[in-house]
């Protein structure tokens, strides 16, 4: 908000820097993706358990469900995703475990 007026605490200061250095990656090497819920963004109302291509990005190699804090899915859709994944697992569309 108060970008130019040098306001706020330390956190805000950092963000300002980022704003000025647009296009440059944030320092520290680690790049955090903007987390948006895929289902909200793509306007998917019903998470179909038969659609493996839809579910696949939320199942990393090990076969576990990706936590919300990583995938950025909103609570509502994570719940729906959970059900969809367990149904797909029952139907052997998705593995329970892989190693």
């Amino acid at each position: 908000m108060s970008g130019e007026r040098g306001g706020g605490g330390r956190g805000r200061g950092k963000k300002e820097d980022k704003d000025k250095a647009k296009g440059e990656r944030p320092r520290g090497g680690f790049f955090r993706r903007r987390r948006v819920c895929k289902f909200c963004a793509d306007k998917i109302d019903y998470i179909n358990y038969k659609d493996v291509r839809l579910l696949a990005p939320f199942i990393p190699e090990r076969g576990k469900i990706q936590p919300r804090r990583i995938s950025g899915t909103c609570a509502k859709h994570q719940r729906a995703l959970q059900t969809a994944i367990s149904r797909a697992r029952q139907l052997a569309l998705i593995p329970y475990v892989t190693d």
């Binding site: 908000m1 963000k15 704003d19 990656r25 903007r34 019903y46 052997a92 593995p95």
Partner: protein, 153 residues
């Protein structure tokens, strides 16, 4: 009321079963549905598909999806029959009518909000194809989006 629930039935037929056996199973299901005054809305045969894990000793199976409208008793009977059928290695019944209704409501609500907002701005209610944004930013423009987004917060 309980007569018009919609269910989705998925069953996996063992890879040893012939095409004929799969067709027979389908007619069996159809008969049960008719006996209970239900309707078979849609049938989808995915054909042979590799399983994500072994079930019994099967590594692949034939997937059949049936959409059925009927009562709970009907599904109970189908479930019982499929359970005792040896050629079926896995089956799952899901009630879908409620979920579909919710999804439809969300869709219409979204459309209405969009139309209302657009008319308030003096635009035609439906977005023109020319003003539609790109589906997905590629990675570089995504970075820019992040900076802008974080700055505003």
């Amino acid at each position: 009321m309980s007569q018009n629930r919609q269910y989705e039935l998925v069953y996996i037929v063992s890879p040893d079963a012939s095409e004929q056996a799969v067709a027979d199973l389908h007619t069996q299901v159809e008969q049960i549905v008719q006996r209970f005054n239900g309707t078979l809305d849609k049938t989808e045969n995915w054909g042979r598909r590799k399983l994500a894990y072994e079930i019994g000793h099967a590594r692949e199976g034939t997937y059949v999806i049936e959409t059925i409208t009927g009562s709970g008793e009907l599904m109970k009977e189908i479930d019982r029959r499929l359970r005792v059928t040896d050629t079926i290695i896995r089956h799952l019944t899901v009630r879908v009518d409620q979920d579909i209704r919710v999804a439809e409501r969300l869709r219409t609500e979204r459309k209405e909000t969009q139309a209302r907002r657009r008319t308030a701005r003096g635009l035609p209610p439906e977005p023109l194809p020319s003003e539609r944004r790109g589906d997905r930013d590629d990675d570089d423009s995504g970075d820019m989006g992040l900076e802008a987004g974080e700055g505003q917060r």
